[in-house]
Symmetry: C2
Subunit: 470 residues, 2 copies
């Protein structure tokens, strides 16, 4: 028998757009970060901005916390309930509302799947640049919440560089539109909302920038017998003034994983690191760029280097890379993806430190990462059935983030903070800097009903800096 709140929510969204039985809620107990789980009170599936606004208004009046959710592919627990929240799933708001090729923009609902946008416009010669590895499933609304990245962000930037405007349901149910043009006057609220992990509002419409397909692209795959040689090759490519569309690296454990996965490439045995570099742009001159990359690889003692012969080979190499996380399931019962950022020049040293942490902890760590922009994804392999090993994996992840922070990097490049890295925010922010952010949250979300207890460490409050406030 549904309780009163479920009944009233049902009255807003209709009986086909709500889940509240425990067995149904179990599917929503976490997102792609499976370490923490929690039970929500209900999951609603609004179909319109008006329904989102009505649900939020209702919950705001009842002082019930709520969590926006896209496809649930997030990797830091941003959409995971802590207990008793109402999840507002945006997956039914999945329309492509408008495409304006001439002005290079598209308007989508938040539940529209990332890759579908490119599929919808590719026949006209356009695409949407941010390409998280989960792009076949993840939604653009979720991408905005997490400021999602992807392999091609080296050249094209992360989600925030592609969002022009937003329609947002505020924490009390009011609907506002912000932005709409690049670099609008006033404070950059679109930038502020993007990456705010569902704590400032619920995005119900997104204007994104779309790009013209590059006339040509080439993909280079290079094998190295040391991680250092691969790292220096990355630095040399960038130093040469080449801006690859993507510049990815995998180490030996990661290579073992992908070779055991769904899209093996048959990489040669004994390889310690591989680089996958893509260049794109105007056709004229692209082969010269490839030659220069190959030349740099050779100078750094590459074992073997090859250029994709055709689109099929290009796609196969990328499938191998993009499914790397999932492929770890083939070599380990469980794995935890981390997401740290370091200055590119510190790559060899940080990878060595990660190796030391791995040996000390006894957990294998695979490194799959966006080398060009120093965004590491250490995959910590563990077995949850062994007592204490999940906890150990979490501690190892935190240690790795500390290393990243200590060399002047940060604790997340694209996966967000969520539940997972709340405490690690202290590695990179002072108490005052965290407090300044919490004060911003209070402007938009004064009662902390919107995705509470995420993003910032608990308690994280500091009375001293609040004295100047009205």
């Amino acid at each position: 028998m549904p309780d009163r709140i479920v009944q009233e929510l049902t009255a807003i969204v209709g009986p086909d757009a709500i889940l509240y039985k425990k067995e149904d809620l179990l599917a929503y107990e976490c997102d792609g970060y499976t370490i923490h789980k929690g039970l929500s009170r209900a999951v609603v599936f609004p179909s319109t901005t008006e329904e989102v606004a009505a649900v939020v208004k209702y919950l705001h009046n009842k002082k019930i916390p709520f969590i926006p959710r896209g496809a649930g592919t997030g990797l830091s627990g941003g959409a995971t309930p802590l207990g008793g929240e109402v999840i507002i799933s945006l997956v039914r708001m999945k329309k492509l509302l408008h495409v304006d090729l001439e002005n290079r923009l598209a308007v989508v609902q938040p539940g529209f799947v990332n890759l579908k946008l490119t599929h919808s416009i590719s026949h006209k010669g356009y695409y949407y640049a941010p390409d998280p590895s989960s792009q076949y499933a993840c939604t653009i609304g979720g991408n905005v919440a997490e400021n999602a990245g992807g392999a091609h962000c080296l050249k094209y930037g992360v989600t925030t560089n592609h969002v022009l405007g937003l329609e947002v349901v505020l924490s009390d149910g009011k609907v506002v539109e912000i932005g709409g043009v690049p670099d609008a006057p006033g404070y950059d609220l679109v930038g502020l909302l993007t990456g705010s992990e569902g704590t400032l509002g619920i995005v119900t419409k997104i204007i994104v920038r779309i790009l013209k397909n590059p006339e040509a692209k080439r993909t280079v795959l290079a094998y190295f017998d040391t991680v250092e040689a691969a790292s220096y090759t990355v630095s040399d490519i960038i130093a040469a003034g080449i801006v690859p569309a993507a510049l990815e690296m995998m180490d030996t454990v990661a290579i073992q994983g992908v070779e055991a996965g769904t899209y093996p490439v048959v990489h040669p045995p004994g390889i310690k690191a591989l680089l996958l570099a893509e260049v794109d742009g105007i056709a004229a001159g692209i082969d010269e760029q490839v030659e220069r990359i190959v030349g740099i690889c050779e100078k750094r003692g590459v074992v073997d280097v090859k250029v994709a012969r055709d689109e099929k080979e290009h796609m196969r190499w990328w499938a191998n890379r993009k499914t790397a996380f999932a492929a770890m399931g083939s070599i380990s019962p469980d794995y935890l993806v981390q997401d740290g950022v370091i200055p590119r020049s510190r790559l060899p040293e940080v990878l060595a430190e990660i190796q030391t942490i791995s040996e000390r902890s006894g957990l294998r760590i695979a490194n799959v990462f966006h080398a060009g922009d120093g965004n590491l994804h250490p995959l910590i392999l563990f077995d949850a059935r062994k007592p204490g090993e999940a906890e150990l994996a979490v501690r190892v992840g935190s240690e790795v983030l500390k290393v990243c922070a200590d060399v002047g990097g940060t604790i997340t490049g694209e996966h967000g903070v969520g539940i997972e890295k709340k405490e690690e925010m202290r590695y990179v922010f002072s108490e005052e800097e965290i407090e300044a952010q919490i004060q911003i949250r209070e402007v938009f979300n004064p009662e902390n009903l919107l995705n509470p207890d995420k993003l910032f460490p608990t308690p994280g409050r500091c009375a001293e800096v609040k004295k100047g406030r009205q």
Copy 2:
């Protein structure tokens, strides 16, 4: 005899670092926007972050409003006193603190002149991308405050895309560091501060991205006998998937101005519009890009098109363009620069409307603009000695901005809102959207001492949306 406040400020910064006599203050009665003028109480010239913090703490305690100021080249009155404020000039904080070529960043003090950064690193093959026309004089601190743009922002983005981190003195004198790495976790406070026009804090240190010099560049100059043909050429170039580093346009009145200025190019007579396009990048293939641009110009009936033969010609063409505003002084006693943004596809129609406004008002309007990204700079020519003509120019400017807003554009691309466009903010923001921004300001600047009465319309307050606030 200096008053008590001047004496106490002198005790902080020293007697050589303060101006307070009326004849000295007159030099600070406005910035590059000369329509509004006001007298400050004093101008202080701190040399360190500590001095800035001490000055701010003092003024905060005394509840005296204050205005940060860079080189005073701003074009919307952001650094203009309204009466009685203390101006905090950052021009003595002009050091280049650190350059890290490997990680592509530089750390500068706010008074460091924009172009000096490129001059300091160009021998190593690097440069700083944002290039406002005033770059020989304007400071990077001022650029951050205004989120300054420039001709090359079409390809490289405006200032916010190049700022990695900031040291900021808050309104009560506390010093915080924010950002430091690209896409840091938490709310994007660096993005929020950038373009906040001195209302949220005083930037005392800036970490900027630096770029590798492009291997090659080419500049194309094309003449058209209609503005429409030039506009369509712009659209065609972008539609062809070419991303020029810059794509500039001048109309016939602007051409008359630059030809009478310091750097004439001897453009052919009777021309209605000229385009200046620059492509840069890897040397291989660049000539093919130029050929394609020339081909597109020819298809659109270009009168004449040529490619710069050498660096000298390239520099001369750019000097002609970059000094266009100042050159208007040769054909008109006074001029007012406007700064609107429109969707690129609406160029011909908006230029026609501007022409209508010009004819109706009797004031000539020259158009000099970043055509590639739809950022218009109508220069409204007037004679301040004729009674009422300055006021008419201001009204005409506002009318032009209304046209921009009405076609889905906005009221400033790179010059900021300042005093000039406070009221025009209503063209693009609802009362609630303005109120949300004012609430953000209150977090950082609760007593509105920092650059008060700028950026937002007066009164701009709306009781209704405040009810949810703590």
